[in-house]
């Protein structure tokens, strides 16, 4: 697991700042990818991680990070799913909430807010995931959202990493990712040999 995380981090280390990267993965590589970004890449580059989640509530990711012993100090969440689930879970100090994944402008606003709050010490924005956002939004508005957000972040020299789960991809999503991303990294499972 650590080897795959290290490999992912190494690929990201080589990218110029302000890059937009599609990270294609299977469900089995999901936590390795998160570990590679949050536990290896961000600390090495001294980046704040702004994690936009529309897949699972931030609280669940925070619990997983706790198990993986990944410190939370420089990780901040824009949680777009907890409120729509009407979850009564306690709010976390490192999470801010968007009412619904359909409020794409508010996602951009919360990311901007976090960039300001963290004094722009250098940030990477993780979008988890394009597939879950596509459940709630049509392709046109989603493409527009990504296009505006990625270019805005690029102007601030912040990189964007967009997760895409291979088994939920379709032609529209692939085209959209090709349009807005500079590079696609396919996360391959570790070989047993």
């Amino acid at each position: 697991m650590r080897e795959l995380a290290a490999r992912i981090a190494q690929r990201l280390m080589d990218l110029p700042e302000g890059s937009a990267v599609a990270l294609r993965m299977g469900a089995d590589q999901y936590f390795d990818t998160i570990r590679g970004i949050l536990d290896v890449y961000c600390p090495k580059k001294e980046l704040e991680a702004l994690y936009v989640t529309s897949t699972i509530p931030s609280r669940s990711i925070i619990n997983a990070l706790d198990v993986l012993e990944i410190p939370l100090e420089r990780i901040w969440f824009v949680d777009c799913i907890s409120q729509i689930m009407m979850s009564s879970a306690e709010k976390h100090a490192h999470s801010i909430y968007v009412e619904s994944p359909t409020m794409l402008e508010n996602i951009m606003l919360k990311v901007e807010y976090l960039i300001r709050k963290t004094q722009s010490r250098g940030a990477v924005i993780i979008v988890d995931s394009i597939n879950s956002l596509a459940i709630h939004n049509n392709t046109k508005i989603l493409s527009e959202f990504l296009h505006i957000m990625v270019n805005n972040l690029r102007s601030k020299k912040a990189s964007t990493l967009i997760f895409s789960m291979e088994q939920y991809e379709n032609e529209d999503i692939r085209n959209m990712m090709n349009l807005v991303c500079d590079e696609t990294i396919t996360v391959e499972a570790e070989s047993s040999g």
Partner: protein, 258 residues
């Protein structure tokens, strides 16, 4: 005017930088100094927050700033103010940021009648202009004109009030924001349609419902003396100030389109 000459003249415009990054970008650098701008919208759209931030930034830039509250007492207002990260108590203590209740001014001037005539309007305008002059105010917010209009007997008196106030404050180099309350379904930008016609700029703040989501929006409809975007933006009121991003269109075309 040839574009090069026009560009050169625009560069020379003295700007009142609002300090709200998104709004300054929309306005090509800020409000032309001395403009009277109508900030209009229905309740809960962020008009007062926007205006307060404009004043706080002004005070931080060393420009004396004055907020005149018509309905809400300033004590109550200050209790509910967003705890801005950039706010400093010393701005109030050291006299760069001032708050005044208009009813207090009415009392001092002996304006106790429920309706004002031309003479009383002149007294009120003189009082505000004198205050601005004496305190060297560079930024003024009047929140709201709607409450003042209840005391004005006719549209002519209202026109006189806004026109005189705006022109005299402009002469003093004071940039003024006048808040106007409208109903969510209103077709005009102000109660009588007079204020919008004689102000130099109009910023419309609204609530946009899209598939059950309610978004706060801002649109600069008019601003004399500068080029500006006329697109609609979505805003958020945060402790770092008002943040703005473009409203997503979702590939929409004219009505009936995809």
């Amino acid at each position: 005017m040839p574009s090069r000459e026009r560009d050169a003249s625009e560069v020379r415009v003295d700007r009142c930088v609002t300090g709200i990054e998104g709004l300054d970008n929309i306005l090509d650098g800020g409000i032309p100094r001395g403009n009277t701008v109508l900030i209009t919208g229905s309740v809960g759209t962020g008009k007062t927050s926007l205006c307060l931030e404009f004043l706080v930034h002004g005070a931080l830039y060393g420009e004396n700033s004055l907020y005149i509250s018509v309905t809400e007492s300033t004590d109550k207002l200050l209790k509910n103010i967003i705890p801005y990260d950039f706010f400093e108590d010393k701005l109030v203590k050291e006299g760069q940021l001032h708050f005044l209740d208009l009813p207090v001014i009415y009392d001092r001037l002996g304006l106790d009648r429920p309706e004002f005539d031309y003479e009383e309007i002149n007294i009120l305008v003189d009082a505000v202009v004198n205050l601005v002059g004496e305190m060297r105010i560079r930024r003024l917010v009047l929140d709201s004109i709607t409450s003042v209009t209840y005391r004005l007997k006719s549209e002519e008196i209202l026109r006189e009030f806004v026109l005189k106030l705006g022109s005299r404050l402009s002469t003093l180099g004071c940039t003024t924001l006048i808040v106007s309350e409208i109903s969510p379904t209103g077709e005009r930008y102000s109660t009588y349609g007079v204020e919008e016609a004689i102000s130099d700029g109009i910023v419309v703040m609204g609530n946009l419902e899209r598939r059950g989501d309610l978004l706060r929006t801002l649109q600069v409809v008019k601003m004399r003396g500068t080029m500006h975007s006329r697109a609609k933006y979505v805003l958020d009121l945060t402790t770092t100030g008002v943040l703005l991003v473009p409203l997503l269109k979702g590939g929409s075309v004219a009505a009936g389109g995809a």
